[in-house]
């Protein structure tokens, strides 16, 4: 979010500094499962997802982008109905999704189980290597001449005079405008400006397995959205789906909860029986911010002149490179090409 907004603002002629409490990509963008699937995007956010997806696609090898195609599966009648209903709407919103028969799926991907009742397919779906995000963004910022300050935890924002004086460690930065795009850490920053953003945080679990023989080529999703499953070219499976660990950003890193981890793994095992014998190497959690209506906060920070906020974008990894520049356009005084999401509505 922050990086692509910074790049656009800089392109537009502003002098930009990005202040990051850890390192670039240390948050959600570096620890998510890397899924770049249009099928899991929300209907109303599909136009944004299409643009963001294209951004990742052109990043190519630098981010390990792979256009693998993706399936969404339903294993019973209830799921099939949900699948049909949702994918029809997503297709109408612009995603190139087609319905396929279970037989077609299993012919193309023999590693999938034989209990598929309904399925959809999108040839554009793929994934990136999310661990490379930080390095990639750092390079883009450097090439664009945008200053990036890492390991800089903002503790104070002074607004007594016009503009902002932002203190992080021993350094104070003065700027005319301010964009808060700190993901799950946005609310504490807003409170430094006496703004109480109603941000809540989910703790999503991701699991990686040991490298081994490749059985699965396309990405796999579930009608409910509760499973993302992909196999990397070295054979490691990445398993996600938003199963909840525990923790809070203030307390530090989140923790995996065994019970939810096991459900996630069982879903994966059900979808791809060959995962039975692979060894799980590591599970971790990442924070995902949201507000009660589940739509993004993208626009003016309520009550603070020249301050903006961009956070709580569900599917934010895909959508970030689209919505970041849109908010930058707003800051530049231009009309964003797509509607933004006024944070004031959430207050």
């Amino acid at each position: 979010m922050g990086a692509t907004a910074a790049l656009r603002a800089s392109e537009g002629g502003m002098r930009v500094v990005v202040i990051e409490r850890d390192v670039a990509g240390a948050g959600a963008s570096g620890v998510n499962a890397g899924t770049l699937s249009l099928q899991i995007k929300r209907v109303k956010l599909m136009p944004y997802a299409l643009i963001g997806h294209e951004w990742w696609r052109s990043a190519g090898d630098a981010i390990g982008f792979k256009r693998t195609g993706g399936y969404t599966l339903a294993f019973n009648a209830r799921e099939a109905e949900m699948l049909h209903d949702r994918m029809t709407q997503k297709r109408a919103a612009g995603a190139p999704i087609e319905f396929v028969t279970p037989r077609q799926v299993v012919t193309r991907e023999p590693a999938l189980c034989d209990r598929i009742v309904a399925a959809s397919y999108c040839a554009e779906d793929g994934h990136a290597d999310s661990t490379r995000t930080g390095t990639y963004l750092r390079g883009l910022l450097r090439d664009a001449g945008v200053e990036l300050r890492e390991h800089a935890n903002v503790t104070h924002i002074d607004t007594r005079e016009a503009g902002f004086r932002i203190t992080a460690g021993s350094e104070t930065t003065s700027s005319k405008r301010l964009l808060l795009a700190a993901g799950a850490w946005t609310a504490p920053l807003a409170s430094l400006l006496d703004v109480a953003l109603p941000i809540r945080v989910r703790t999503n679990t991701v699991t990686v397995t040991e490298p081994g023989p490749v059985h699965l080529h396309a990405g796999v999703g579930h009608a409910t959205g509760l499973l993302t499953l992909k196999q990397k070219s070295n054979g490691s499976y990445l398993i996600g789906g938003g199963w909840q660990g525990t923790g809070s950003p203030e307390a530090g890193r989140g923790r995996v909860v065994a019970d939810t981890l096991l459900q996630n793994l069982r879903l994966a095992r059900f979808a791809v029986p060959a995962t039975a014998n692979v060894r799980v190497l590591r599970s971790w959690t990442g924070y995902e911010a949201y507000v009660p209506d589940y739509w993004p906060l993208a626009g003016v920070l309520p009550g603070v002149r020249d301050a903006y906020v961009l956070a709580c974008v569900r599917g934010g990894y895909t959508i970030g490179p689209c919505i970041g520049p849109l908010v930058a356009d707003l800051i530049l005084g231009r009309e964003p090409a797509l509607p933004l999401f006024d944070p004031a509505r959430a207050m």
Binding site: E210, G212, P213, N277, V278, R279
Partner: protein, 84 residues
């Protein structure tokens, strides 16, 4: 290569590693049996490095399960593979 075994052993055991028949003794790990037989490594792995089940360099496949050779006692007739 002369024997690397020290001292007495108990009952003999024979198993297969990539279809080669390996003679070993009760109580030995798969890694030890391979080591004593002169097999210290294969593509992507080696029989011993940390010898504690930590480094994961000694993994082999037995009945489609991937296990650490250094912690797996040999059993008669076991079919061990260096790849899945």
């Amino acid at each position: 290569m002369s024997d690397l075994r020290i001292g007495e052993r108990g009952n003999p055991v024979a198993f297969y590693f990539d279809d080669a028949r390996i003679e070993a003794f009760e109580g030995e790990t798969v890694s030890s049996a391979l080591w004593a037989h002169g097999i210290r490594g294969w593509e992507g792995g080696r029989a011993y490095f940390c010898a504690m089940g930590v480094c994961q360099q000694c993994t082999v496949w037995i009945d489609s399960a991937r296990v650490e050779g250094c912690r797996t006692p040999v059993r008669n007739g076991m079919r061990v593979r260096s790849r899945p």
